[in-house]
Symmetry: C2
Subunit: 217 residues, 2 copies
């Protein structure tokens, strides 16, 4: 679920190798695949919540999250399609800050390959996880505790309408005025007190060139 | 450091009692006082990082954080003075989302009582924590690993210029157009699958009236 070591080592991103090492070293902790995703909410204020890492997309560094299409963050992301992940590994004292654009893939998406990714994400989830998408809308008042019981789901049935895949693409960003490259993967190790910043530069042939700079913690 | 149980029980906020219970239940974990603070960065994009809870301000529910006045977030907060805390307790599977305004208190603050809070926060930190404010500016490239060694700090000396206190005030927010009260403390317990939302309503006499609503997770 959390992206294979072999797949990671086949990729060139230096931060990806560090992240995979942290995932491996903290794999005994259930919460090692949880991170906090910040977005910008209505009115330009920040929003922040814990989400579950659902692995990297095949053959790239894009990060996948499952979410409920009826949750507030969907509208927020459609209005401001950017996020920053803050991922703290409690056993190795390592923090990754990963900033990028977010793609919302719900059942109405027009791209067949994206719908395929969504379907794959659905079947990769446990049946218990899938059941939550058949429950009431997140955030509405609970009138009756019994209303969520007795829901049945055919394990072979495809994704329901409320199931949404979010895909975060760690990306290079240029500021409009200054053409500065904003840093988008920021790694901090509190045990060694080492901090690294990674930037991506897309080459003419479409490949990515990564640069790591050691900075003051 | 993390706010006393007695002080918490003397306050009326229902979320504060839940938070104190989570702090107590997870106190054996070093990272139980770490949470993620989302803000809005330059260009209207979200930013997110792990910070350390430095307790509540005396006799109120305001949350304190120490930070470096030279870090990027200071400029960001001055431009958009709002944050959302996402605090996940790994042992009890509880999440608190606390949204509010942020007050930046550095050495140039004109309010003597705020400067007093800053001084108190400085002396409440370990000498080792204080030393980081004498190091190089966070985020600049490290040219020489030796540059941070050999720094001496007199333990009785007051806060240095780089030391900054952030005070988050969980607050009621009204949207300009609809006069809706935005929810600002959102509690989720993944063990019991219970979610509560708390809103504050300031009364005519200045006191706070809190309302808790059980909502769908």
């Amino acid at each position: 679920m959390a992206g294979g070591g072999a797949a990671a080592s086949a990729l060139s991103s230096p931060w990806r190798a560090l992240l995979q090492r942290a995932l491996d070293a903290n794999a005994h902790l259930r919460h090692s695949t949880y991170f906090q995703l910040a977005t910008v909410a209505t009115g330009g204020r920040p929003a922040n919540r814990t989400v579950v890492f659902r692995g990297f997309q095949e053959n790239c560094d894009k990060i996948q999250i499952n979410t409920d299409a009826r949750s507030n963050k969907i509208g927020e992301i459609k209005s401001c399609p950017f996020g920053e992940i803050c991922w703290y590994f409690t056993d190795t004292w390592e923090q990754f800050r990963i900033s990028g654009s977010i793609d919302v893939i719900d059942g109405s998406n027009a791209d067949p390959s994206k719908l395929q990714h969504r379907e794959k994400a659905w079947f990769s989830s446990s049946v218990r996880s899938r059941l939550q998408y058949l429950g009431p809308q997140p955030g509405i008042p609970v009138l009756d505790d019994e209303q969520v019981k007795g829901i049945h789901l055919d394990p072979s049935a495809g994704p329901v309408d409320a199931f949404c895949l979010l895909v975060i693409d760690p990306e290079k960003v240029r500021q409009a005025f200054f053409f500065l490259i904003l840093l988008f993967v920021d790694y901090l190790n509190l045990k060694s007190n080492q901090r690294l910043m990674f930037t991506r530069n897309q080459m003419d042939d479409g490949s990515n060139d990564w640069m790591a700079v050691k900075v003051s913690p």
